[in-house]
Subunit: 182 residues, 2 copies
Amino acid sequence: MNGRPPRADALRNRARVLEAAGAVFAERGTAASTEEVARRAGVGIGTVFRHFPTKESLLEAALAGLMEELADRARALEDAADPGAAFFGFFSEVVRRSATKNALSGALAEAGVDALRAGGEAGPALKQSLGTLLERAQGAGAVRADVGAAEVMALLAAMTHAAGLGGGTGALAVVFDGLKAP
Amino acid sequence: MNGRPPRADALRNRARVLEAAGAVFAERGTAASTEEVARRAGVGIGTVFRHFPTKESLLEAALAGLMEELADRARALEDAADPGAAFFGFFSEVVRRSATKNALSGALAEAGVDALRAGGEAGPALKQSLGTLLERAQGAGAVRADVGAAEVMALLAAMTHAAGLGGGTGALAVVFDGLKAP
DNA sequence: TGACAACCGGAGTGCTCACTCCGTATCTTC
DNA sequence: GAAGATACGGAGTGAGCACTCCGGTTGTCA
């Protein structure tokens, strides 16, 4: 199907571009120019467009990377001793992280649907890991039984987004109370 | 200070532009071009820029108009017989409306902080009316006493935003349960 | 109704951005 | 270490956008 493996510098540059894209889009929002990503990565624009033929594809790839990180974190918590703490801890960690990397929330929002649906394999992976975390927490009686992964994902996206607006901790506490078993 | 009142056509056009801006930005997002707003309003671009010297000012004005609508709605509910129903009803009405006018949520998000803080007088007005609704609902025992207007605004913004993502009704129910008195 | 100010329309301007192209440099293979 | 494939850099291209400018039009007031 495909001839040779890619050259070593190509691989290195691809990784650099991806990292720079994550940083730039998080700081400046998704409206940041491709040229700035190239500058940050220390490569020419041509290189960026060779690896990611379109700005949209670059955004998707950067987003997929971030979601993969989250999915890994979720998987690591699947065997935790206290499923309730694992679930709520993961939830607030995601919110907190997104608050710091200011505009990740914006990116998740703009490309949101696309990211969850078609964002490589990381989207489904995150959803599944989150589902496992949720089920275990429900099994332990820490979370009410009548909510599904979809609702939790929606709440996570919502609170991630609102984290940039201020009234963070209190609002999160309200949501957590709503999620706890009666 | 100022000489004459503005001409009648100027007033008419200003209103048309504002209405068109609200519709266009809600449908196409805030990235929609000023020219499209002008087309929709049936005026020339020059006219748009005479009334709103900058695209940002146009956005602000359109947003302020929407928030004023919401503030009016909130004020109308201040004397309702059932404060709890008024509060939760208002909350879900705002979320529902934003879901329909798809990208109002995006607009509220992007310009969010600016809108709440400096968006004319509508921002504070909304916050105050919402505060009144909240206090009355708390007085009636329908909402827990340890949440403030800031948390509710944050939750409102969050759920407004997430409404476009799908898992709407269930997620909202969770938040409402979290808001209810124990 | 005439005269003047206020207002309108929309072609034009300058800028930014995504994306292309190709001469040059670097890696890989034998 | 030489040949050939692969990848790089960055000036260049075209499209789109916010915003300006001014000749023409319309409302207003006496």
